[in-house]
């Protein structure tokens, strides 16, 4: 039989062959296998079991970073301002007695009668002498 003749008949034969070829059913466990494989596969465009809270945490992390940066910047500028202001520095004169030399100017709690006695807010001697 020539190929042309066979081809003429072949449309029907081809259909029969394909039907016979595709007549077998899938394994019964194929559905379970597919579902198990799908469960282990994340869908595209969908996060991998990430609920909403990490997003909130991300926002919170950014907010915390902004706050921390602001606080650090403020601390830096305040510290810089304090150091660069000469009037805030305690001036120590060599002739003054010991504690007063190291005492910064301003108000201090001091005990008047020794240990266990009430204290009162007094101006330090250094503050008086500095001015």
């Amino acid at each position: 039989m020539t190929a042309d003749r066979l081809l003429t008949q072949s449309e029907e034969r081809l259909t029969q062959m394909l039907v016979a070829r595709a007549s077998r059913s899938a394994r019964p466990d194929l559905v379970a296998e597919i579902v198990a494989a799908a469960q282990a596969t994340p869908q595209r465009g969908r996060s991998i079991a990430w609920p909403a809270w990490p997003v909130l945490n991300g926002r919170m992390a950014i907010a915390a970073l902004v706050v921390a940066t602001t606080v650090l910047a403020a601390a830096f500028f305040l510290d810089h301002g304090r150091r660069s202001t000469p009037s805030r520095r305690p001036r120590v004169r060599p002739g003054l007695p010991g504690p007063a030399r190291r005492q910064p100017p301003g108000l201090h709690w001091r005990s008047r009668g020794g240990e266990g006695q009430p204290t009162s807010l007094v101006w330090s001697r250094a503050a008086l002498t500095c001015r």
């Binding site: 034969r13 259909t15 394909l18 039907v19 077998r24 899938a26 194929l30 559905v31 869908q43």
Partner: protein, 192 residues
């Protein structure tokens, strides 16, 4: 065997609701889609590949890929055509990478046992010849012949499944027939 008997000639349309649920990550809805369509899909892959193990793998790969890509499916009503395209692509990839030697069962030769009459023997021999010729074709030609002759799909349906123009489907169908004729000639020459 009647084509209707194997229930792949006219695929049952998948429920749009199920497809939408599955696209939102509902694995139960996806399981129902698989249960409804896996046999059909498997038979399509089996017709193209001719090997049960490969058809199983191609079916599984196709559904897993479908699951992964479902959120991107814009028209849930066209899920079946979309899935068929994925299956055919999986078959194409499998044929491209196929390196295995085809196994031939000793029981496949009916003449050893039954000694049929000349007419039956010719029919069986012709069917085997056609199957061998079909296996010489590449995946694209196999796919279009399967869609046309086995699934009895219209040109427009084949165009939707393959993502090509109807005119291209007609041309490819004609090309596949011509390739089958050439393969039949080649098989006829090598026939013992």
């Amino acid at each position: 065997m009647d084509r209707a008997a194997i229930a792949i000639a006219s695929p049952l349309p998948a429920s749009v609701e199920l497809v939408e649920l599955a696209a939102r990550g509902d694995i139960d809805a996806f399981e129902r889609l698989v249960a409804a369509g896996s046999d059909r899909t498997y038979r399509l892959a089996l017709a193209v590949l001719g090997n049960e193990a490969d058809a199983h793998d191609a079916t599984q790969d196709s559904y897993v890929r479908a699951w992964r890509e479902l959120p991107r499916l814009r028209q849930p009503a066209k899920f079946d055509a979309w899935l068929y395209r994925i299956v055919i692509n999986a078959c194409r990839a499998r044929l491209r990478n196929q390196r295995r030697v085809r196994e031939i069962s000793f029981d496949a030769n009916p003449f050893e046992r039954h000694q049929p009459g000349p007419a039956v023997a010719d029919t069986v021999a012709d069917s085997e010849l056609i199957e061998r010729a079909f296996d010489r074709l590449d995946a694209n030609r196999r796919a279009i012949l399967v869609l046309h002759y086995l699934q009895n799909e219209s040109v427009s349906s084949i165009a939707a499944v393959l993502g090509i123009a109807p005119g291209t489907v007609k041309w490819r169908l004609s090309d596949a027939r011509a390739a089958l004729a050439r393969a039949l000639t080649a098989e006829g020459e090598t026939r013992p």
